[in-house]
């Protein structure tokens, strides 16, 4: 077996965390090697070290048998390493071609030869069967296409070793399959691939070998053909896990939220919601499935008052809330666990106590007139921390000091404790470990059972399938189907999410 990459004894420490602890890792020529691990296990860190973005605190790296010192991504590129990052590294107002050639521009005299660049990109895209317009602006293309741009960036630089950090998080099942084919082709071309994911099914279908990482340490490296999903899950988490949620059948009641022909535009003024119709009842969890970028984020922004609608309306318990301010909407009884806890959910530089009352800070009992009652606020925060098992020294530390999972628990605690008519949970478990996921799921089901309406938005099909009572699929700004979760299959959802239709099938569940 020819080793193209070998990492030995890698240790990397961040303030407060040992992200990599004496890690050994090797990549064989022509293989697809999965790095598997929970959130925060240290997978990205390890790859960032290989790509020269981080410097290890100790350890050695060998590429093609030679010891190397990778100080910058430039060094990595020279060694034939390419990386597709977990969070895309694209300049949004640049064209596809500009993004790809950046740093390795074809020149004509002293100017950039844009014509040449566009040609090169086209040629490269054709070679790998990507359909992509080199002159399109990044912010105008879909996430799936952006992903391809990322891969092209690596290939354009002649990468033989390709690192893909969670490339499937934002893809439809069909696109994931397509990616699988692409990867197989790349391997045939003689490239070696490191694939990061924590989705076990993908691991089984795509890889040759798997290295499992837990809390910064390598647990084991195994051949995919010699292992099983359950075994991988156990190694990943460190204990036996059940991925199923226990819940009683729903007892749906009256319609709480009614959305009628709702329309909205994105930040560039292009329509993203093209007439959404939806009802959410009390005592049910309605899941919205869809590929990222089909309008689910905007839909939630509109019904929480964060985005203006351009048509249609939405009604909560008979009260038209269209065009109301976020504060009015909160007061009307909508609570919202936002998809991005760092951007929306928390003021990271505020204490947990201050964060605990965000949205209710101005009203009794937390404030009287303009004076805030910090004693009450702290007391309240302590209750939340206790009830939701938020791991923190006390309520006075800044939110930024908590781990992602605990931050998320804090947000969920705050929103659930508002005792809302409608609870919106957007990506409620993104970036959380299994334990935290279990907990959040349990709380959502509890809310349902207390007769609340829950609107769940998630990119994780498993989560949608497990948690929802009904599933609405959103595609291109419209709800293209509503299924009963009991009968829905991943395949059906995938077809709908990709814009197909279930002609000969039960278009079931539309109540």
């Amino acid at each position: 077996m020819e080793k193209v990459v070998e990492m030995r004894g890698i240790t990397k420490v961040f303030p407060g965390v040992r992200a990599n602890d004496d890690v050994n890792f090797e990549l064989a020529k022509g293989e697809i090697h999965v790095l598997l691990g929970e959130n925060g296990a240290g997978k990205t860190t390890l790859m960032n070290i290989l790509y020269g973005l981080y410097q290890p605190d100790s350890g050695e790296i060998y590429v093609n048998g030679k010891k190397v010192d990778i100080k910058t991504p430039g060094d990595a590129i020279k060694l034939g390493i390419g990386m597709v990052h977990q969070h895309f590294m694209l300049v949004h107002n640049f064209t596809v071609a500009e993004n790809i050639i950046l740093g390795k521009e074809p020149k004509k005299g002293i100017t950039v030869n844009m014509k040449q660049a566009i040609q090169d990109v086209k040629k490269l895209a054709d070679l790998y069967g990507f359909k992509i317009d080199p002159e399109a602006i990044i912010e105008d293309i879909t996430v799936g296409q952006q992903q391809k741009v990322e891969i092209l960036k690596a290939l354009y630089r002649g990468a033989d070793i390709l690192i893909l950090d969670e490339p499937t998080a934002v893809l439809t099942p069909q696109e994931i399959e397509e990616l699988g084919v692409i990867l197989k082709n790349l391997v045939k071309e003689g490239k070696s691939i490191i694939l990061i994911t924590h989705k076990l099914k993908e691991v089984m279908s795509m890889s040759d070998r798997v290295t499992i990482v837990r809390r910064g340490k390598v647990i084991d490296t195994v051949r995919t053909s010699e292992t099983s999903i359950d075994r991988l899950a156990e190694m990943m988490v460190g204990r036996k896990v059940s991925l199923k949620i226990d819940k009683a059948p729903a007892k749906p009641g009256k319609v709480v939220l009614e959305i009628k022909d709702l329309r909205a535009q994105d930040h560039r003024g292009l329509p993203v919601l093209k007439g959404v119709n939806l009802e959410v009842r009390s005592g049910e969890i309605l899941g919205i499935a869809g590929v990222d970028g089909n309008g689910q984020s905007e839909l939630i922004e509109v019904i929480t008052g964060l985005r203006k609608s351009t048509g249609g309306k939405f009604i909560l318990n008979g009260k038209d809330l269209t065009g109301k301010s976020p504060r009015e909407i909160i007061e009307a009884g909508i609570a919202h666990i936002p998809e991005d806890r760092h951007k929306r959910g928390l003021v990271l530089k505020y204490s947990l106590a201050e964060n605990a009352v965000l949205g209710k800070h101005y009203a009794a009992p937390f404030a009287k007139g303009i004076m805030m009652n910090y004693a009450r606020i702290k007391e309240y925060a302590r209750t939340l921390i206790r009830d939701f098992d938020v791991r923190t020294p006390n309520e006075e530390v800044m939110a930024s000091a908590l781990s992602g999972g605990n931050q998320q628990k804090m947000v969920a605690a705050r929103e659930i404790n508002k005792d809302p008519e409608l609870l919106i949970a957007a990506q409620p478990t993104r970036g959380l470990d299994v334990g935290a996921i279990e907990y959040i799921h349990k709380r959502l089901v509890m809310e349902r059972d207390r007769g609340r309406a829950v609107l769940l938005v998630s990119l994780e099909l498993d989560e949608i399938l497990n948690l929802s009572d009904r599933i609405a699929v959103i595609y291109d700004g419209e709800i293209v189907g509503i299924l009963d979760a009991k009968n829905a299959t991943e395949n059906e959802l995938g077809i709908l999410m990709a814009g197909g239709s279930l002609k000969n099938k039960k278009e079931g569940g539309i109540v």
Binding site: V347, Y350, L358
Partner: protein, 366 residues
């Protein structure tokens, strides 16, 4: 009971610790800046290092705290800086850069110089009148760019710069035109009923404005950390997206912060006229307290209590300009010191970096 006492003891300790930590770096900066300034003295005067050091430090001490007169003058300078420092701090807290404090201060000066001329009012009416007038004028002057930023999206930096100049020319028009005192490039002296009490005697310009400034520090402190307004303003400054999500209007708070900031600056202008200057003068350049206030707020890390210390430092340096000149040290040294202090304050990341490195080493080895 004991637990409680323990608790409060702890929190006191915490406050001390954090104060020490926030004060330490500016303090180091100040000391380093002073020594850099010595080099300039050495160069400029052609004296040795030790002589230069003693010359400079003696002069600064004499000129700022060393005598009763200089002490008084120091606090005369401190007074307006308290206001402009606080005004800048408020804006910084919302994530806005209000370069316009200078203009808002100027407008406060102007309005007070005008209102102060009204005759026949008892002091008990007149002083509140000018104070309200100054606050309103400054608030409007700050509110306009705030409004434009919130509603039209125009950059507040540009607009506040523009409004500084507009304030200056407007003031000059009034001072040299309708309200000109013949023979002098200023408005007539305001009525005694509009003057703040000079509690050390008519000949010492120190006045009750200082206490208004100190009171304002407390008020701003409470505003920031005890009221919903402060909660919202800070939230918008730290994370506008989260604030918006929490039902806090970004636009409203931007305007509000600019209005409050401008109001404080305008109040500073009012205090300046009614306590110190007693009229508005023709301006050949900016008065400067607004710009100095930026430096004060930066040095104070936008903390109201820090503003007090930073103002005293700047006031002391300003007031020592006299004693420096008297020993033939160019007073430019004063401004050099101020600038170098701010440079070192800006460089405070270096301390953080050292701290982090230490922590990390502990972890690798541990």
């Amino acid at each position: 009971m004991t637990a409680n006492a323990n608790n409060s003891h702890n929190s006191l300790l915490n406050v001390l610790k954090s104060t020490y930590r926030t004060l330490l770096f500016p303090l180091i900066s100040i000391i380093v800046a002073m020594f850099v300034a010595v080099l300039f003295v050495v160069w400029g005067r052609g004296v040795g290092f030790f002589e230069g050091t003693s010359l400079l430090f003696k002069a600064i001490w004499n000129g700022s705290f060393g005598s009763k007169d200089s002490l008084i003058e120091t606090f005369v300078y401190v007074t307006p800086l308290l206001f402009t420092g606080l005004a800048n701090a408020v804006a910084f807290k919302t994530g806005l850069f209000n370069i316009g404090v200078e203009g808002q201060f100027t407008i406060g000066v102007l309005i007070t110089a005008i209102l102060g001329l009204i005759s026949g009012l008892p002091a008990i009416v007149h002083i509140p009148l000018i104070i309200v007038g100054g606050i309103l004028a400054g608030a409007i002057w700050g509110g306009i760019p705030g409004y434009l930023k919130a509603k039209v999206g125009t950059n507040e930096v540009v607009n506040t710069i523009m409004m500084n100049f507009i304030a200056m020319y407007l003031s000059n028009y009034i001072v040299m035109g309708p309200l000109n005192k013949p023979g002098v490039a200023s408005t007539p002296e305001i009525r005694p009923s509009a003057m703040l009490w000079r509690f050390l005697g008519e000949n010492n310009r120190l006045n009750t404005g200082l206490f208004i400034g100190l009171l304002l520090i407390a008020l701003v402190y409470i505003l920031f950390w005890k009221t919903t307004i402060g909660y919202e303003i800070r939230a918008v400054g730290l994370n506008p997206y989260a604030a918006e999500y929490g039902g806090i209007s970004i636009k409203k708070n931007m305007i509000l912060a600019m209005v409050i900031s401008g109001g404080i600056a305008g109040l500073g202008g009012a205090i300046y006229v009614s306590g110190i200057q007693h009229n508005a003068m023709e301006l050949t350049g900016f008065i400067g307290y607004g710009f100095d206030g930026i430096a004060v707020a930066l040095l104070a890390k936008s903390h109201p209590v820090g503003v007090l210390f930073a103002s005293i430092l700047f006031g002391a340096l300003n007031s020592s300009a006299i004693s420096l000149q008297l020993v033939n040290i160019p007073k430019q040294i004063v401004f050099l010191i101020q600038a170098i202090i701010i440079i070192f304050v800006a460089a405070d990341y270096i301390y953080k970096w050292i701290g982090e490195k230490r922590k990390k080493e502990a972890m690798i080895n541990g």
